[in-house]
Amino acid sequence: MRIRSRTQRIGDWVIVLLCVFVIFICLLPMVNILARSLSSPEALMRNEVLLWPKGLNFDAYQYVLKDKTYTWSMTWTAILTAIGMTLSLVMTTICAYPLIYPQLKGRRIINTFIIFTMYFNAGTIPMYLLLKDLTMLNKPIVLIVPYCLSVFNMIIMKSFFYSIPDSLRESAQIDGAGPVLVLVRIYLPLSTPVIATLALFYAVGRWNGFQDALMFMNVRKYYPIQLLLYNLINAISSIEVAIQEGFSTPGLNETIKTASVMFATVPILLVYPFLQRYFITGATLGAIKE
């Protein structure tokens, strides 16, 4: 380690302070809402709650946990997320893998055919009318299939496959292994980082997905959590909405809103830090030019 001069050390501390500031800004809204969700409604009304709960209690969380509409929506979204993520990973793999073979005839055309959809899309209304014609509207499948394959994620996976040496594939082929066997035995076992990354991207996408549910799903029992939350947060008159949304008690106050937001956030906050070293690689691969 070099000996750092006085100016350098002052510079270091300025940078550390700036980063502490960034951390503070990033966490501030979360800490604030956590404090509010754990405070008593009276303390909230007196504007006393900043970053630390006043009148600590877990009533709001108990209330939300007992609420059938909310817990079902969480469960339903978890099911959707699991199915959607699996389907997306399979689709992404079987799309990206053949495209790395130079032997694939028409590879350029197929590539262009796929990439084109990334730059030009038909728009919301044509998609809506198509789903209507396919009679998929308001059915659970509409939250799984229409956006199950992302070209961007496919490119990430392809870039990763390209980074696996061709010689591995070629020697397996000489031994008589077909493309599918090579995929299962060689490519997939080596692809944990990219699979973890894309699993996270797809899962977060479904968990946070809102627009497709708002537009294509009108059946209350199939509402994913974000749509339910949106309706909760925007409840102008709590009593009216409490009845509409099936909340049994009309005492839908601010702490319950905040507890609902916290609950829906926790699954993601628990998962993403552990996948950090993977998704950094994945996000970087996405930037590689096709």
């Binding site: 980063c19 501030l28 959809t117 809102f210 950090q276």
Partner: protein, 321 residues
């Protein structure tokens, strides 16, 4: 002697080719089998919707297929003309440009600055913690963020306004007055994307040859000089590629963010093209008009992307298309 040989050879190559094709297919047919499902997906969910675009030029009818609907007035351009005579659409168009432009001005430099800061951090463990925390907002949905923002920025009871009032100031209507709303919207965008977007810049910085810094050290360069003369020029290519993408998206942008942050008090600045399409199309059932608007947005978006790419290539950069 010659002729029969040629004929024979021709026959041979013919059957050879068939044989080779058979052998090739025997080895590689699974590649095509794997691709069948994704290609079907792209045809059904990406290309068939494109055939529905013709609704923009036709009078929509619920009972007919788009191919059979009658052509709209003015050689089919009726709905485009109507859109540009609709004040609500013009407002949405203006807001889309304005919000995306402000996003670009405020949001584009932020991750570059943060990446430079992180790169200069002398403590590796602290750097990792900062990164983890800074990535967090990227994983929150706009519904959650709007929930957080409504609590934080509530007119009298939100943390920010409580602090402002305790310091003796007047509460600020962050989400309820147009100008304040625009500022809040842009800042929340920076908050959400700044950390995540550092990833690419940090990767580019890692790839810089350390000898460049050593040479700069020998020349007596200070920290800021090294950033200005070594780091920034080395990641210029990355910055330009991302700038092209951002420029190409100047008429794009998501639906969730303006929709969830918006409210009736600020509709005049929060209505953008995607929310306009939703309220006039899916809720208002004006399918031809909103398909026309969507097509306009897509086409202009492609032109912006190609234009930005062209300019970058003219300037001697790599481009993206």
């Amino acid at each position: 002697m010659r002729r029969p040989t040629t004929a024979l050879q021709a026959r041979d190559t013919g059957s050879d080719r068939r044989k080779r094709f058979k052998l090739y297919m025997h080895k590689y047919w699974t590649l095509y089998a794997l691709l069948a499902l994704p290609i079907t997906y792209f045809i059904i969910f990406k290309y068939i919707p494109m055939t529905y675009i013709q609704i923009a030029f036709k009078r929509y009818s619920i009972i007919q297929s788009p191919w059979k609907m009658p052509l709209a007035n003015n050689h089919g351009w009726q709905y485009f003309i109507q859109a540009f005579r609709t004040p609500d659409f013009l407002r949405a168009l203006r807001n889309t440009f304005m919000l995306n432009f402000l996003d670009l001005v405020m949001g584009f430099p932020a991750p570059i600055i943060l990446a430079l800061l992180l790169n200069e951090l002398p403590f590796k463990g602290f750097k990792r913690v900062t990164q983890t925390v800074a990535y967090m907002p990227h994983f929150l949905s706009w519904i959650i963020i709007s929930g957080l923002a409504r609590q934080l920025f509530a007119p009298t009871s939100g943390l920010v306004n409580i602090v402002i009032q305790r310091l003796g100031g007047n509460p600020i209507p962050f989400l309820n007055k147009p100008v304040h709303w625009v500022a809040t919207y842009v800042l929340l965008g920076v908050w959400q994307s700044m950390g995540w977007n550092t990833i690419i810049y940090l990767a580019a910085i890692t790839a810089i040859n350390p000898e460049l810094y050593e040479a700069a050290d020998i020349d007596g360069a200070g920290r800021l000089q090294k950033i200005w003369y070594v780091t920034l020029p080395s990641i210029k290519g990355t910055i330009i590629v991302l700038l092209i993408l951002a420029l190409g998206n100047i008429l794009g942008g998501g639906f969730d963010r303006p929709y969830t942050l918006g409210n009736p008090l600020v509709r005049n600045v929060s209505e953008v093209i995607p929310t306009f399409v939703y309220s006039w199309g899916i809720k208002g059932l004006q399918f031809s008009l909103t398909t026309a608007v969507g097509l306009f947005q897509s086409v202009v978006g492609v032109f912006f992307l190609l234009g930005a790419d062209f300019l970058a290539k003219r300037a001697g950069e790599r481009g993206i298309v």
